[in-house]
Symmetry: C2
């Protein structure tokens, strides 16, 4: 069973993922995406029996269009309990309860989110929300994190288009602290910090990449990485689980435009995409705004970032925004 | 001039490193260590004129053995002032004042810390302390961070053995929070949390890699990365700047043993090495312990880590420690 340990010096949690653990001597030879590609793909049609059991599917013409399956090497296990242990003087751990699912976005091995039709993207986003709602129904789940790793530099080892969902029994310190900042702002001003950021960025304009009636795409003021890009709604709502079908259709269009611009501007960059949403118990909060963060993996955080927590970004956000605005999709 | 911006949602600082900035269109082609190696090396003997001015050197037989020079593409600049700016409603920035130096550890291009003689390692560590003391003398400097990036996966683009020193005009939130946890522990128990960890690990033994009279080498309980390894002194001291020559000689021996075991066990892994030390104004603190953290770069943090702040470590720390203990250096 996986184990969740708390670092006594930071109170951050770490997952010791025994289900995906290798024996120490195996860490010398790194498996790579190239290794994977040479084998037959378990996510392609016809290989359904090679994945863990399917938990959900979307069909079309009698065949699956999207499949959701358990992760073969889950970071957390739904079979574990959420029992806590204290080891004096200061060590704290939990059994690694949680969910870890894979969303196979399409049967087509060589498709990408950036090249999908709008209808396909809508289906992916509807699946995201469906899994959010399904996993939050377990009362032990505190947070549902939906994300996509695209490319080896972004931590992906399987080329077939897929996203992941992890549901955790804890609210991480990293997220608690963001909420403390947001609550402080709300107490000071009576406004949602994130909604104010969206308004300020829309007004200021220099970091805006794209805007629609309902969404703003922009490079944040203190972008941690070159071409870090946020997509945020103009309407306050803390939870991705509370989005409407109409909003997800619009998001699909805006996400498609954004990913195609990044693809064109940066020549198919590896990236992580994360749906930021409030913890389950805080879905109705006045002080958080769900949004999408896309972080291309172009630079490598190194010793300075590890030691200081300060990211060094060699790209000026205003220049990145201008470059993406001017990127032609024709 | 570089600019330091504060993220309004986390209050973490980000350096927008304009001195190392590329134009947006240049991010499509990544420079790699392989590119660098093909050119003539600016850190080799005979090419001294190709580096920024030398700020310090250690000589032997009339030639330099270690050189310290300005970073050619500094993240922070000593020519900037530490002026702060507020942009309503919530954006905060500073001019990017600071120091960014490179320590060329040896004239020999193909040497590594793991293959150095003990005397050479002593000289590198004495240089680390010398630069710490030199940079902390500037009253605008709040933190001096000494680190080494080894290998491309660890963010290094130059093969010639070198370390780096960055002095910042701010104490990062990441470090403030670690101190808050440590102060809380000190207030609760009257003891330094880090000293207690070293004692508990020494007693427990299962995560110990190596021990000498003065230093313990161990895998931390909540290791964030496979084979994350700490070297910490048994004697309380918050600041690396307060170490004695005798301690640095012993550290050189212990560091050599540790790096050779990692080299042998993991087949020359890429890694980051960071000297963790208290901010300049807190050198005499009772609640922090300077130490070395070595993090091999074997796994790739991805969307889950970015979104949650929870690291997923597929290696059990007790097994990593046993493997390193059993690694033969003969």
């Amino acid at each position: 069973m996986p184990e969740i340990r708390q670092d006594p010096t930071t109170r951050e949690w770490v997952i010791i993922a025994t289900e995906r653990a290798k024996r120490p001597h195996e860490f010398t030879s790194l498996s790579s995406a190239a290794d994977q590609a040479s084998r037959s793909c378990v996510f392609c049609r016809g290989n359904e029996s090679q994945t863990p059991p399917e938990v959900w599917r979307l069909e079309g013409n009698g065949q699956w269009r999207i499949r959701v399956v358990g992760n073969k090497f889950p970071a957390l296990s739904s079979k574990a309990t959420a029992t806590r242990y204290e080891t004096p003087p200061f060590y704290r751990s939990m059994d690694g309860f949680g969910y870890h699912e894979v969303i196979v976005e399409t049967p087509e091995h060589d498709r990408t989110l950036a090249s999908m039709q709008e209808d396909e993207l809508v289906d992916v986003l509807l699946t995201y929300r469906e899994r959010y709602l399904a996993l939050k129904a377990d009362p032990r789940v505190k947070l549902v994190l939906i994300f996509k790793n695209y490319g080896e530099r972004a931590g992906s080892s399987i080329a077939h288009p897929h996203s992941q969902v992890v549901a955790t029994p804890i609210i991480p310190g990293h997220i608690r602290r963001k909420y403390e900042v947001a609550v402080q702002h709300y107490d000071d001003t009576g406004r949602c910090l994130y909604c104010e950021i969206v308004e300020a960025e829309d007004r200021h304009g220099q970091r805006v990449v794209y805007r629609s009636d309902q969404f703003l795409v922009f490079e944040p003021y203190a972008s941690r990485f070159p071409f870090e890009t946020w997509i945020a709604p103009f309407t306050h709502n803390a939870s991705f689980g509370k989005t409407t079908n109409q909003e997800l259709r619009e998001l699909a269009r805006v996400l498609g435009v954004t990913l195609r611009r990044l693809h064109r501007a940066l020549d198919d960059p590896h990236f992580n995409l994360v749906i930021h949403t409030a913890p389950v118990e805080d879905e109705l909060q006045a002080y958080f705004l769900w949004h999408v963060e896309i972080t291309p993996r172009i630079t490598t955080p190194a010793g300075f970032e590890l030691g200081s927590g300060i990211q060094v970004n060699p790209c000026v956000p205003e220049e990145a925004a201008e470059f993406l605005r001017d990127t032609c999709l024709c």
